[in-house]
């Protein structure tokens, strides 16, 4: 009996599958949790819990600095954790100073802050101040070490910072308990290098899933006191604050797509090993 041509073997077909099939399977995986809703159980990691414990430890009137340093491109991962922490800080009675050192961040941040403040019954300039955006994040972070008024003489809405009641006794990092930066880029490094290293302000980070592994060294060296990694971190945080939000709701979608990618990795490698063995056998037979 004649041997089947090489190109028709199962592993060859698997290895040369049209990429549109891959896209289609992934699209189905993305849609699956919408059609069949399910929830994903999430354990809570120490690095997320330490941020939660810190905010829980705030007393009414304490000042917290939140840096919303991301663009709409990473909104899906970072918005849920920002919302959960801002809400928790408001519930603790903390006064929150907020900046957004990412180019497309301020308008996106403003919508979130206004909504959460309204839901929690908080007032602008009394319970929180949104300073907005300034270019060159490294320089801005350094300048805020002298006085927030140096890079931000007015807030996002054009109100002079000196006339904002809440800001009367808030001048620089010495007047805030900590900085929590939600970053989709290298602004997180700047907060560590300038905010923490130069001015000694405690820093915690909320970052995208792919960025998270970059910041574990800072966690061990205690240059950051907490780390919330991606949507999973947000889901963990939402569990801690006992309020299900976009993080928990997004986990099934993330899980189904990750599962598909894992299955792809397994299938393609089984096919690859099979192909390699077949080629070796064929070479040995010759």
């Amino acid at each position: 009996m004649e041997a089947r041509p090489e190109a028709t073997r199962w592993y060859d077909r698997l290895l040369s599958v049209d990429r549109r099939w891959i896209y289609l399977i992934l699209a189905i995986a993305v849609l699956l949790p919408t059609v069949i809703p399910f929830s994903v159980p999430t354990g809570i990691s120490n690095e997320v819990r330490s941020v939660y414990n810190f905010i829980e430890g705030l007393e009414p009137g304490d000042n917290l600095f939140l840096a919303i340093d991301y663009d709409p491109s990473t909104l899906a991962e970072l918005h849920p954790m920002t919302e959960a922490i801002l809400r928790q800080a408001f519930q603790r009675g903390a006064r929150v100073v907020i900046t957004s050192l990412s180019q497309f961040g301020p308008a996106m941040a403003e919508e979130l802050i206004a909504r959460v403040a309204q839901e929690e019954g908080k007032q602008r300039n009394i319970d929180y101040t949104f300073l907005g955006y300034k270019p060159y994040p490294g320089i801005t972070i350094l300048a805020m070490g002298s006085d927030f008024r140096v890079p931000f003489p007015t807030d996002y809405y054009g109100t002079p910072v000196d006339s904002i009641p809440m800001m009367q006794d808030i001048h620089n990092y010495r007047n805030v308990k900590a900085v929590i930066s939600f970053a989709g880029g290298n602004v997180a490094d700047m907060w560590i290098q300038y905010g923490n290293a130069k001015y000694g302000v405690p820093v915690a980070l909320g970052v995208t899933g792919v960025m998270a592994s970059d910041y574990y060294p800072y966690l061990q060296s205690r240059q950051i006191f907490g780390l919330i990694p991606g949507m999973k971190g947000a889901a963990e945080y939402e569990m801690l604050v006992e309020r299900r939000g976009q993080g928990s709701r997004g986990m099934p979608y993330q899980m189904s797509t990750h599962l598909v990618i894992l299955v792809f990795m397994v299938i393609t490698n089984i096919a690859y090993v099979a192909q390699r063995r077949a080629r070796r056998r064929a070479a040995g037979a010759r």
């Binding site: 599958v17 990429r19 891959i22 896209y23 399977i25 992934l26 993305v30 994903v40 159980p41 354990g43 990691s45 663009d71 709409p72 491109s73 990473t74 909104l75 899906a76 497309f104 301020p106 308008a107 996106m108 403003e110 919508e111 206004a114 270019p135 060159y136 320089i139 350094l142 300048a143 002298s146 140096v150 890079p151 996002y156 809405y157 054009g158 130069k198 998270a212 592994s213 970059d214 574990y216 060294p217 061990q220 999973k232 986990m251 993330q254 899980m255 797509t257 990750h258 599962l259 598909v260 990618i261 894992l262 792809f264 990795m265 397994v266 299938i267 393609t268 490698n269 690859y272 090993v273």
Partner: protein
């Protein structure tokens, strides 16, 4: 002189900024604030050049390439609309036309573009992530284990996997990252020194 004066300016201003960084004194803070104003002014001067460049290139495309014309018109229209909508200071508050455009066009557009990456990653995982060598096999197994933590597993597999991931992130990952961070920092210091001393002057363009 054409080269010496810029080099001298770089050396002097660089040294001043290095010294002020390490000296916590009101004078040093004044120098820093003053230098920042320079940076912001230079940035503002660059903005009209960027806008001019965008409009000129878009106009050239619209003029010479019929296929691109519709996209060029969309660029001009979008640019003009955002400028007009954002002229007033109050436009930055929720509910205004500028914010509606931002929330309903720019935010979903950026999020959609970024989420397309998932499809490319899936395709790359299928086509490129193969156990060709021992190192590739280690990388593959590590990636598999780390990604597996997002999948709910029955106990005690879930706890074992979580512990293993924690160890991977806290030990081998951290060791590698530290080496990279220290290497990059040393490289940045030596590169900065070369710029300050005028050894590296490619930022001035060709002589």
């Amino acid at each position: 002189m054409k080269k010496q004066i810029p080099l001298l300016l770089v050396l002097v201003s660089g040294l001043i900024m290095v010294i002020q960084y390490f000296v916590p004194h009101p004078v040093s803070e004044f120098v820093f604030t003053y230098a920042n104003d320079f940076v912001i002014v230079i940035g503002i001067l660059a903005l009209p050049i960027g806008i001019f460049s965008l409009l000129r290139n878009t106009w050239a495309k619209a003029k010479h390439d019929r296929k691109e014309r519709i996209y060029s018109i969309a660029t001009f229209f979008g640019f003009a609309l955002m400028v007009v909508a954002g002229l007033k200071r109050e436009s930055l508050e929720s509910g205004t036309l500028y914010m509606q455009l931002f929330q309903n066009i720019l935010v979903p557009a950026q999020a959609t573009l970024f989420s397309m990456l998932a499809f490319y990653i899936a395709s790359a995982a299928y086509r490129a992530f193969r156990v060709r060598t021992m190192l590739a096999a280690i990388l593959l197994v590590t990636a598999f284990v780390v990604m597996l933590r997002l999948i709910p597993l029955p106990e005690p597999l879930s706890t074992w996997n979580a512990d293993l991931v924690r160890w991977i992130l806290a030990v081998p990952n951290m060791a590698a990252k530290r080496a990279i961070i220290i290497g990059v920092a040393l490289g940045a210091i030596s590169y900065s020194m070369k710029i300050l001393l005028g050894i590296e002057s490619s930022y001035m363009g060709r002589d």
